[in-house]
């Protein structure tokens, strides 16, 4: 009965007001409460409504994941929280730039593997490449692993962005804010100033 519940990775999307300090609030919540962040991406996704989307990959037991969602929902500038991992299928992608140095057979081999992985060379010198690659985290990991013995110099990765499959979006999806709170009304009253 005393089996430790298994900690699993969850991809959580958070729709927030794009205001000063909002990322610090989210990151501070994770560090302050000892939750783990495996990857985090953020960018404005609606310039008119000034909303940003944060995608976080975190790891935890079901109880901890539930807490994370509820704690995120409690933040005032948060519009909606979606646990993509537990709410049906979703697409997750990451982009990486991978620099590889080498000549001769190693150089040719890296190009061959890049071709198999559908990575694109975006910069080239006589003894180096920069590959651009998009895919799942696992695919990127595999490619980078293969590049290591072939002269891997450095890697830059964006972290995961993810979106739910199918026609429904964040606002008309099933889940808005954390499970307890009422959904914000579709028609937003803006403050008149």
């Amino acid at each position: 009965m005393n089996l430790e519940p298994i900690a699993r990775a969850h991809t959580i999307a958070v729709l927030v007001d794009n205001e000063a300090g909002v990322l610090a609030r989210v990151v501070g919540l994770f560090s302050g409460r000892g939750y783990n962040i495996e990857s985090l991406t953020v960018a404005e996704v609606d310039a008119v409504k000034r909303m940003s989307r944060i995608t976080i990959v975190t790891k935890g037991t079901p109880m901890v994941i539930e807490q994370i969602k509820n704690q995120l929902g409690r933040l005032v500038p948060v519009h909606a929280v979606q646990d993509l991992t537990s709410e049906g299928p979703h697409v997750a992608r990451e982009l990486a730039l991978i620099k590889v140095e080498g000549t001769g057979e190693r150089r040719v081999e890296s190009l061959r593997i890049a071709d198999i992985f559908r990575a694109r060379a975006v910069d080239s010198t006589t003894h180096s490449f920069i590959f651009e690659m998009t895919g799942s985290t696992e695919k990127l990991d595999a490619f980078i692993g293969l590049m290591r013995p072939l002269g891997l110099v450095e890697v830059s990765r964006t972290g995961v962005v993810a979106i739910r499959r199918g026609a429904s979006g964040f606002e008309n999806g099933k889940m808005a804010r954390a499970n307890g709170d009422e959904r914000p009304r579709a028609k937003k009253q803006r403050v008149k100033v």
Binding site: D17, A20, G21, A24, R25, G28, G32, M63, E66, Q67, N70, Q71, G73, R74, L75, V76, P77, V78, H79, R177, A178, N179, G180, D181, E182, P184, K188, Q189, R190, V191, K192, V193
Partner: protein, 586 residues
Amino acid sequence: MSEYQELTGAEIVIKALVDEGVDIVFGYPGGAVLPIYDAIFAQNSLRHILVRQEAGAAHAAEGYARSTGKVGVLLVTSGPGATNVVTGLTDAMMDSIPIVCLTGQVATHLIGNDAFQEADTVGITRPCTKHNYLVRDANDVGRVIHEAFYVARSGRPGPVVVDLPKDVQLSIGRYAAATEVAHRTYRPRVKGDSTKIEAAVAMIAAAKRPLFYTGGGVINAGRRASELLTELVRLTGYPITNTLMGLGAYPGSDPQFLGMVGMHGLYESNLAMANCDLMIAVGSRFDDRVTGKLTAFSKGSKKIHIDIDPSSINKNVPVDIGIVGDVGSVLDDILKVWKKKRYKPDAKALKAWWKQIEQWRGRDCLRYRKTADVIKPQYAIERLYHHIKGRDAYITTEVGQHQMWAAQFLRFEEPNRWMTSGGLGTMGYGLPAAMGVQVAHPDALVIDVAGEASILMNIQELSTIIQYHLPVKVFILNNHYMGMVRQWQELLHGGRYAETYMDALPDFVKLAEAFGAVGLRASRPEELDDVIQQMITTPHPVVADIVVDPDENCFPMIPSGAAHYEMLLGPEDAKPEISAEGKMLV
């Protein structure tokens, strides 16, 4: 379309506060808030209470808020003014107290330059507030302040900081009245899910050994919530226990009330928690002081949890039914369902349950050895209760043994009468909080039950109390020790009293007199009643120094890392072996 008024940012601050119904602001001026103080000077709607240190303003605002149910307001300057309120903000965050804290900030063009009295206030206060704002434009001041009040009082209440750079206070802006502000995202759920409520009521009706376990959320939900809780508890005939924060939500002298629960809660409450078959948690949060060892916590019970904060549900203890909503609204719905479906409690099972509870009660867990030559601290609180019973009294406390004795021996018949730092455990809370309570209730009897160590942490506020003729009473249980810490050293560290004895203490009678208050002292049991009587009847601030038994410890007690059924009832109980895990707990 409404017309906008053009005002300075500072004038907008005052106008917005007045429009929010604020009558009292606790504060301390400084360079970065001078324009706001100038605007205060020019009006008569707001009364400003000048504290002696900003920490005092924060706790005073908390005391004001908790005793009135309204939002407490404080105004402090930038830099040290803001950093001094961090403890008070954290305290309000932990205990869910609605306060709005306005801080001055250096001018916007200086932010980030390490300017004089600059601190990153929004950065520092982000984790200890429900929300905070840095206002960069005078046109936003009105809207942000109204939003701040909305956020502070809605849902699970909490502290909100509004940081106001000096240039924003001085520049001209347009003021938006409160009605025009609707929050974009923050709309906490008030109404509970009706299916879950029906299931909960059925579960309540079917219980054999039920227990209501209610907390500060009931008090935060307003007086009506306490009335509904009382109605439900009486209708069912079930026993009820309160957390430290929840005292007063149900009449303390009622026989269905078992007393406080938790680490220093009553034996009958904790045993009822351990043995119930249904726990109905209302506005309480399964805090570690309440649950004790989690793996041994009330294993045989089903649990219903009603709370406005979804993150409170299933946080520490998994529950069977979690209902998110305002406690008052959900209790109202529960009562309606109960009456409509004509539920009746299981009378036979209930009778047996009460019989068991009465047996636990028979242990008389609060008993202590009375002595003729020294005042026992418990006796002091008992006598205090005897003298204030039935009066229009408000009690605040500091933190430590005295706080627990007050919680055990004082009984509260209604909500908002008991103000104590529960979650954060802030020594120095009680005196400024009492000041805030007295400002809100000028004619009431307001008593800070204190220890000699805690009281010294914000003693400067006696000066404020004198300035505003606030007849606050300070009732110090003086044992020369940081008693609670010493008690833990006895239990966990072989009685090695590292730095818990204060070799030098002020003469509290003279100290009171130096501030301009009345000082009294009782050193022997026979002097106690007179001193209490005199304290209560003196229409001025009084400091009563009650010299108590220095060695007394606070019982009953659940040692850290232990379960409810492993309670120590008194010094005669064998000192338990504390597990390594238990030693790590605070």
